[in-house]
């Protein structure tokens, strides 16, 4: 499904990306996928098959909440927003990710 030039979002990082996008403003699913694609300058493409389950998972964990609203072009859409727990989670996950990336980088440079 994905184009060869784009990489699928790595498993496990999708949650982090979603949370980052939602930290700016509440957003609907399609908008989130667009923001990730744009933010990565088209490098990352979100697989819809994992986006919505991820949102569902985050909602069950209480990190995001959802509400039905109206989109810019007047369509009914489900908007997701970060909860307080989600904000904390984002901070933790970001730290975690940075440490992880640092470690991987360190190993790559060391060899």
């Amino acid at each position: 499904m994905s184009k060869s030039s784009n990489a699928d979002v790595l498993r496990g990082t999708l949650d982090l990306l979603i949370l980052t996008v939602l930290a700016e403003a509440p957003m609907h699913g399609w908008g989130i996928s667009q923001r990730i694609q744009e933010g990565s300058k088209g490098l990352l493409e979100v697989n819809q098959g994992s986006l919505y389950p991820a949102l569902q998972r985050l909602e069950q964990r209480g990190w995001v909440s959802s509400v039905w609203g109206t989109s810019d072009n007047n369509r009914r859409a489900k908007f997701y927003a970060l909860t307080a727990a989600g904000t904390d989670g984002l901070t933790r996950e970001t730290d975690e990710w940075r440490r992880y990336c640092g470690a991987v980088e360190w190993i790559l440079e060391g060899t």
């Binding site: 609907h28 996928s33 819809q48 098959g49 919505y52 569902q56 072009n73 489900k78």
Partner: protein, 885 residues
């Protein structure tokens, strides 16, 4: 295995249910939202492509392709929707079911065990609820009060409460107008109801006109009476069905009530049986009794319905103030009055009934505790048998909470299944209880079937015990220290959780001793009561009470002629050997009497004596032995000198060491003059079989001619026929007179032993169940231990220990457990016995023989239960231990 196959089916059903639950309740809404969200996504994607110049149809196609298989996503999302809390629970339950299904025999035994405990507790609670807790079927019954006076002097209480003179009720009604919306007077009474072809005795109530308004009852047919017309009555729904076949034309029907012509003006609603536990068949205005309106003789209980916005305390203050202010009847001292909510068992009786039922409930809870301890020790054994599995799971990272959850789920499953079976048992048990005939003196209709409150109680009891007794083994078996079990190789270790099991088993033994000891006390009490020599022979005697009360126009002479003719005609009934009339029926709860004195010693203290008026022939009919002097004769008539017959106890108290015949006594009932003693009869029991020996004075019936009397017919072998013919004779003499409490004398005198009988039976059943359960528990513990120590026993045998050594070792352990349990149980039993002393008769609370016998029995059973595992241990071959390796 068939049982496990059945369980698999059950599991499938359960899974199906779970899915249905989620799908039906949530799926629709969630699916719609999900579809909306996907549609929105596709629309946005297509719009974006369109804005890049793609034509709309192609844009939609490409958007769908980019999204991937919509249906696949939907399934993935549905999967993700599982409720996070429920899911692990469902898994635990499934896990528990599987592991229970692996041992169907054990599971069944456990379920039966719990069912017995829950069943016993629930059944007793049902009875408690029916008697004490269930409100009467009256609208806003908590606002319906009865005025209960505190009086001294001559007082009389009925089952409806303290009876006070009617004029005082009227004064209360005036004084409480502000706090009661309406007031009414009520007293229970018996009536002879004459129908077309039969005259029957029915229980009912005399009421004032405001009764129905105050109680808040509307008739389902006709209307109620208001008291303006004394010749109107309302019949109960039960009587309407039983005697009038549910005939809708019954309203307006004229019948004779105690000889007075009355009209049935209404039929009460279904289920309404008056304001007490006793079932009223009809209600009649107090005026039907032809008493003067200002008579102090008519005694009633005042009822009042609180006015809107008035609370009980305020009304009670008004009533208490009125009690001292309104005119009092002569010879009475009134200390005040209280308000009691109208309840099926009035406040005076609640203490005794409540204590008795509380005792039974406590004993039922003991059965439940034994059952629960039994299950807990079995679960503990199972958990330890699986400790390798548990240790592996803990080692592989399963949280302890998760392991505990698993074990707890298993325990709760057992308890839920057992609880359900227990409720079924309770239904059967209460049905069996309801089928035990109540004594004829207590026309109570008890609805014993468990209702919703009882079910909630059963659920709470089951859940509570399941949680406590499931948690202990679960926590024990999941202790982190258990990891050692892995290293130890999973066999041979004797340590770990042992003391908890010992505690459970010892506790069971102790509780069983306690139960059995209590059961033995009650059984002893019942036996002692039943084997008391009452001083007369009730076998083969039938009895019926006949009331020639106020509404029948009998004066003293007419009554005398009636009794005399009745006696003569009854003697002619074929099969009747002897006939005796008496005012009272012995041992039926009838009580009358006063102090008597020896006439020749004015300073001698009075002797309180039971008193009865009996006709000539009565001593013969009841086979009361005359030890000195003579019985009454037909010549002891109204104009003859007053005479009396006393019992040995009275003779000994009044004239110690001297003969009583020919002496004179004062204080005989209805006699101001001295009365000559003409005979002495053997001592007996008079009011209750369990009473202390007491003095008794009999006077000739013909010298009193009471308005009501009981006729005793000794007709061995033809009791039913004698009673039938007696009914015909009475009807031919006066069709407005009914036989009351007609039946075998033995049924009537069973009344005083009824609680003993119920207690002995119930507690005995509890005790046997407890004994079985603790034997099972002990057997389980020892068998389990033997299985665990097979290798140890093998080694012992190999090192030269004989079979006897090994058997003794196992048995010894069982004996220590049983012994400790017995000791604790005996101590507790001794305490309980002291506490229930007031319910007992003829056994000392310290009933050492019964306590010791119970302990010995239990000890023997316990050791017997250990015998099988002990012998198995003794048979362990030395080589077995090595093979086990």
């Amino acid at each position: 295995m068939r049982a496990s196959g059945r369980l698999q089916r059950l599991l499938r059903v359960f899974r199906g249910l779970r899915a249905r639950f989620r799908h039906t309740l949530l799926r629709r809404r969630l699916d719609r939202e999900m579809d909306d969200e996907i549609a929105f996504h596709l629309a946005m994607e297509a719009e974006k492509l369109e804005s890049q110049g793609v034509d709309p149809a192609e844009a939609r196609r490409r958007a769908a392709v980019a999204f991937g298989g919509v249906e696949r996503h939907r399934e993935a999302l549905r999967e993700g929707r599982r409720v996070p809390v429920l899911e692990p629970l469902v898994r635990d339950v499934r896990f528990g079911m599987r592991s229970l299904a692996r041992e169907p025999g054990l599971t069944l035994a456990a379920v039966v065990t719990i069912a017995l405990g829950v069943g016993a507790t629930t059944a007793v609670f049902s009875v408690t609820r029916a008697l004490l807790l269930r409100p009467l079927p009256i609208p806003e019954v908590d606002r319906l009060m009865s005025i209960q006076e505190q009086r001294s002097g001559a007082v009389s209480t009925g089952v409806e409460g303290m009876l006070i003179p009617y004029p005082r009720f009227e004064a209360y009604a005036d004084a409480t107008e502000g706090v009661f919306r309406s007031t009414a007077a009520v007293r229970l009474d018996g009536f002879a109801l004459r129908l077309d072809d039969v005259t029957v005795h029915v229980d009912g109530a005399l009421t004032s006109g405001g009764f129905f308004e105050t109680v808040g009852i509307r008739p389902i047919l006709g209307r109620v009476y208001t008291g303006d017309d004394d010749a109107e009555i309302v019949i109960s729904h039960d009587l309407w069905l039983a005697r009038f076949g549910g005939d809708p034309e019954v309203v307006g029907r004229r019948v004779a009530l105690d000889g007075a012509a009355v009209t049935i003006v209404g039929v009460g609603p279904r289920g309404f049986r008056g304001v007490t536990a006793f079932a009223d068949a009809l209600w009649a205005p107090v005026g039907i009794r032809d008493l003067e309106p200002d008579s102090w003789g008519l005694r009633v209980v005042p009822l009042g319905r609180l006015a809107d916005g008035v609370d009980r305390a305020r009304a009670a203050a008004v009533v208490d103030a009125a009690a001292g202010a309104i005119p009092s009847d002569p010879n009475a001292t009134i200390r005040g009055a209280t308000l009691d909510p109208v309840q099926s068992v009035p406040v005076q009786g609640r203490g005794v009934v409540g204590a008795f039922l509380g005792l039974l409930l406590g004993l039922a809870v003991l059965v439940l505790l034994i059952a629960a301890a039994n299950i807990a020790s079995v679960l503990l054994a199972r958990a330890f048998a699986r400790r390798r599995e548990t240790a592996v799971r803990l080692a592989l990272g399963a949280g302890r909470a998760r392991v505990v959850r698993h074990l707890l789920a298993e325990a709760l499953l057992l308890f839920v299944a057992g609880g359900a079976a227990g409720v079924a048992l309770a239904y059967l048990g209460t049905a069996a209880l309801a089928s035990i005939p109540l004594p004829p003196q207590a026309p109570v209709i008890l609805d014993l079937a468990p209702d919703r409150t009882v079910l909630v109680f059963a659920l709470a009891v089951t859940g509570g015990t399941g949680l406590v007794f499931g948690l202990v083994p679960a926590l024990q078996a999941s202790r982190p220290g258990l990891i050692g079990a892995l290293r130890a190789g999973g066999w041979g270790a004797t340590a770990g959780g042992g003391w908890t099991r010992d505690l459970f088993v010892g506790g069971q033994v102790a509780l069983s001793v306690l139960l059995l000891a209590t059961a033995a006390l009650f059984a002893g009490s019942f036996r002692a009561g039943a084997s008391v020599d009452p001083g007369f022979d009730a076998a083969g005697v039938v009895v019926a009470r006949i009331d020639l009360g106020a509404p029948h126009d009998y004066d003293g002479g007419a009554r005398l002629r009636f009794w005399s003719e009745l006696r003569d005609r009854a003697r002619a009934i074929p099969g009747v050997k002897s006939v005796g009339l008496a005012q009272l029926v012995l041992l039926s709860g009838d009580r009358w009497g006063g102090d008597v004195r020896a006439a020749d010693d004015p300073d001698a203290p009075g002797v309180n004596a039971f008193s009865d008026f009996v006709g000539w022939g009565w001593f013969e009919a009841l086979e009361v032995e005359i030890v000195e002097g003579r019985a009454f004769r037909p010549s002891d008539g109204p104009d003859a000198p007053p005479v009396a017959v006393v019992n040995q106890f009275a003779a000994e108290r009044l004239w110690p060491g001297e003969t009583a015949v020919g002496r004179r006594l004062r204080g005989a009932m209805n006699r101001s003059e001295e009365v000559e003693v003409v005979g002495v009869v053997r001592d007996g029991r008079y009011v209750f079989a369990t009473e202390e020996p007491t003095a008794a004075v009999f006077q000739p019936l013909d010298q009193m001619s009471p308005t009501a009397a009981s006729i005793h017919l000794r007709a061995p072998g033809s009791e039913a026929r004698a009673l039938r013919e007696l009914g015909e004779i009475v009807r031919s003499m006066d069709a407005d007179v009914a036989l009351e409490l007609a039946g075998p004398l033995e049924a009537l005198i069973g009344f005083s032993l009824y609680p003993h009988r119920i207690a002995a039976g119930l507690v005995g059943a509890f005790g046997v169940v407890g004994l079985l359960l603790s034997a099972l528990g002990l057997h389980g513990v020892l068998a389990h231990q033997v299985a665990r120590r097979t290798r140890e026993f093998g080694v012992r045998r190999a090192l030269g220990a004989g079979t006897g050594d090994v058997v003794a070792r196992v048995l010894g352990r069982g004996a220590v457990l049983a012994g400790a349990g017995c000791a604790v149980g005996l101590a507790a039993g001794w305490l309980v016995a002291r506490g229930v002393g007031s319910f007992l008769y003829g056994v000392t609370p310290l009933g050492a023989p019964s306590l010791a016998a119970v302990a010995a029995l239990l000890f023997a059973v316990a050791v017997g239960a250990g015998l099988v595992p002990a012998l198995r241990a003794g048979r362990v071959a030395p080589a077995r231990a090595l093979r086990d390796e």
